[in-house]
C-alpha cells in the first residue's frame, strides 16, 4: 500500500515503514538506544530526503522510547534521579554542541567530520564493550554459577563532593560525574544528530558503574526529553517533520519497543552488552566502508544551502 508523505513529497510503501519501525523499536527496547543511528541511514536508502529523515526520526524515537520507558517503569528499572542529573548535563551539552556544530559548518566539511566522529566513536565504544563483555562471560563460565564480582569503585570518583544516594542504581556517588557524562553525550548528540543512547549506555555502565538492567530504562528516560526538544526545534525552524512518516514508523516502533523490552529482561547483562557491542561495530563497519570504497555514483544532488 503506497502512502504519499506530505512533507517529504515522496510516495512510500506503508508496510515497509511499519516493518522498519518495528525492527528499530525492538532494538530500542532491548538496549535503551533510540535507534536513530540505524534508522536514519535506512530512511535515506528508501529515498526520504535527509533533512526530513533526521527530523522525523527524532519524533519517532520519542514514541518508541516512551513505550519502552513505561515497560521499564513497571519493572522499577528506571533511576529517575540519575536520569534527571544526566538530562541537566545533556541539555547544557546539546546547547554547546549546536554552537560548535554551527562553527564547524562555517569552516566547511562538517559532513565529513560527523562521519569520522561516528566511525571513531562507534568503533571505540563497540570494541571496548565487546572485549569487556567477552571477558565477563568467560569469567562467569570459569567461576561456574558464582555471582559476578561487584565492580570496584574508582578512588577519585568516591572522593568528589556533592554526594547523592541513587537508590535504584544502588549507588552513593557525587553528582559531578553524571552531569559531566551528560554534557559530553549532549555535545556529541548535537553534533552527530542522534539521541546519543549508544554512547550514554556504555558511559553509564563503565564510567558511573550502574547495573545494566537499570541503564536501559534510565537511558530511555533521558532520550525522550532530548529527542522531543529536537523534534520541536526541527518542526519550528526547518519545517522538516513529516507527521505521516512519523506515524507509520512509530506504530511499528512502539510495538517493537514492547517486544524488545521483554526480550531484554530475559537476557543476561553480559549477553545484552555483547549484542549491543556487535550492533555498534556493524554500523561502524558499514560507515567505514562507505568512506573507503568508491561510491557507485560520485555525484549527489542537494538543495542550495543545505548539506
Amino acid at each position: 500500500m503506497q502512502i504519499y508523505l506530505p512533507i517529504a513529497e515522496v510516495s512510500v510503501n506503508a508496510f515497509l515503514l511499519l516493518g522498519l519501525g518495528g525492527m528499530v523499536g525492538v532494538l530500542s527496547g532491548m538496549f535503551g538506544v533510540g535507534g536513530g543511528f540505524l534508522m536514519t541511514p535506512l530512511l535515506f536508502f528508501i529515498g526520504i530526503p535527509p533533512a526530513v529523515a533526521v527530523a522525523t526520526e527524532a519524533n519517532q524515537i520519542v514514541a518508541s522510547s516512551f513505550s519502552g520507558l513505561l515497560a521499564h517503569v513497571k519493572r522499577k528499572n528506571v533511576d529517575f534521579k540519575m536520569g534527571t542529573m544526566l538530562l541537566i548535563g545533556g541539555l547544557f551539552g546539546a546547547a554547546v554542541g549546536v554552537v560548535l556544530f554551527n562553527y564547524l559548518k562555517a569552516q566547511g566539511q562538517v559532513d565529513l567530520l560527523v562521519r569520522l566522529c561516528y566511525v571513531v566513536f562507534l568503533g571505540v565504544v563497540g570494541t571496548l564493550m565487546f572485549v569487556e563483555s567477552l571477558n565477563a562471560i568467560r569469567k562467569s563460565r570459569k567461576a561456574g554459577d558464582a555471582p559476578a564480582k561487584k565492580r570496584r569503585e574508582r578512588g577519585w570518583i568516591s572522593k568528589l563532593p556533592f554526594k547523592m544516594r541513587f537508590h535504584t542504581s544502588g549507588l552513593y556517588i557525587s553528582v559531578i560525574p553524571p552531569i559531566i557524562v551528560g554534557v559530553l553525550v549532549g555535545i556529541l548528540a548535537a553534533i552527530m544528530g542522534v539521541g546519543g543512547g549508544f554512547i550514554m549506555v556504555p558511559a553509564m555502565i563503565y564510567i558511573l558503574g550502574m547495573p545494566t538492567k537499570v541503564v536501559v530504562g534510565t537511558s530511555l528516560f533521558q532520550i525522550i526529553f532530548v529527542t522531543a526538544f529536537t523534534t520541536l526545534l526541527h518542526a519550528t525552524t526547518n519545517f522538516t517533520v513529516d507527521i505521516m512518516l512519523a506515524v507509520l514508523l512509530l506504530v511499528g516502533g512502539v510495538i517493537g519497543a514492547q517486544i524488545g523490552t521483554r526480550i531484554g529482561v530475559k537476557m543476561k547483562a553480559e549477553q545484552l552488552r555483547i549484542l549491543l557491542a556487535l550492533l555498534v561495530m556493524l554500523v561502524c563497519g558499514k560507515l567505514a566502508l562507505d568512506l573507503l570504497l568508491q561510491p557507485g555514483e560520485l555525484y549527489s544532488i542537494g538543495a542550495v544551502g543545505g548539506h
Partner: protein
C-alpha cells in the same frame, strides 16, 4: 496584376506554413495528490487545425513536453582524499525542473533541429539552466550531466522518442507517466508541431498538481502553525507509546 498575385502568393506561402494550429485535449487538467497517490498517467491528445490542405513537403511531427516547477540545486562530487571519499567540488545549478518529460513522434534529432531546440529549450539539457560554475571546477558540464543521469534513473526526467502517435497528419496522442514522488506546483505542458526540423506551431497550457485533503491540511499546518504542528507530532508520539504499553499489559494478562 500578375505582380500583385506573386506578392500575394509570396505572402501566402509562409502564412500557410503558420496556419497549422494545435487544438489540445488533456485527460486531466488537475492532478490531485491524495494520501494514496501512487503516480498518475496523463493522456495528451489533440488535433491540428488548418485553413489550407496539409503541405506535403515534409511529414508533420509532434513534440510534447511537460515541465515541473524549477528550483536551484547544489551538485556535489566525491573525490578520494587521503584514502577516503569526500565531497570536494560543488556546482550550483541555477534552475532545474523537478520533473521533465518529453514525448516525440520520431527520433528526437529528426523531429527538431538543433537551432530550434536552442530557441525553444525543448531537450532535457536545455531545460536546465546553469550559468556560474566556480573557478576551481573545470568540467562544470559533467555536473549537469549527473543531474540528468540521476533524475532519469528515478523516472523524473524522461525522453520518450516515437511515443507520440500521429494519425493522418492531423490527430495526435501520447501518455506521460507522472511518478509517485511528484512535487506540487504548476506543470507547464508544451506542444510543438514541426516540419523538417522547424517549429511551425506551438501551444502551451498548465497542469495543476496539488495536494488535497489530509495532505493539504498537514502541509499547511506545518507551515502556518509550526509550533502546534510540532506539539501535535509529540502528542501523537506519546499517546502511541502509552497505548502500545497499555495494550501489551492487557494482552499479556489474558
Amino acid at each position: 496584376m500578375a505582380r500583385v498575385l506573386t506578392i500575394l502568393l509570396a505572402l501566402a506561402l509562409p502564412m500557410s506554413a503558420l496556419a497549422e494550429d494545435v487544438v489540445l485535449g488533456l485527460s486531466q487538467k488537475q492532478v490531485r495528490i491524495t494520501t494514496n497517490f501512487d503516480g498518475s498517467e496523463i493522456l495528451i491528445f489533440g488535433a491540428v487545425k488548418r485553413d489550407a490542405p496539409a503541405p506535403d513537403s515534409a511529414p508533420l511531427e509532434v513534440i510534447v513536453a511537460i515541465e515541473g516547477p524549477s528550483t536551484p540545486l547544489t551538485v556535489r562530487r566525491k573525490e578520494r582524499k587521503v584514502g577516503i571519499w569526500v565531497n570536494v567540488d560543488a556546482v550550483e545549478v541555477d534552475k532545474a525542473p523537478a520533473f521533465y518529460a518529453i514525448a516525440t513522434s520520431a527520433p528526437f534529432a529528426q523531429v527538431i533541429s538543433d537551432t530550434e531546440d536552442l530557441r525553444y529549450r525543448v531537450s532535457i539539457p536545455r531545460a536546465i539552466r546553469s550559468v556560474g560554475a566556480p573557478m576551481n571546477v573545470d568540467d562544470a558540464a559533467s555536473f549537469v550531466e549527473a543531474v540528468i543521469r540521476i533524475r532519469q534513473s528515478s523516472g523524473l526526467y524522461q525522453l520518450n522518442e516515437s511515443a507520440v502517435e500521429v494519425t493522418e497528419q492531423t490527430l495526435f496522442k501520447t501518455t506521460i507517466a507522472l511518478p509517485a514522488n511528484l512535487t506540487e506546483g504548476d506543470y507547464k505542458a508544451r506542444i510543438y508541431l514541426t516540419r523538417a526540423g522547424k517549429v511551425v506551431s506551438d501551444f502551451e497550457t498548465v497542469i495543476d498538481v496539488r495536494k488535497v485533503g489530509l495532505e493539504r491540511f498537514l502541509f499547511n499546518l506545518s507551515r502556518q502553525q509550526p509550533l502546534i504542528y510540532g506539539l501535535l507530532s509529540l502528542a501523537i508520539a506519546i499517546a502511541a507509546g502509552w497505548l502500545a504499553s497499555a495494550a501489551f499489559r492487557v494482552l499479556l494478562r489474558n
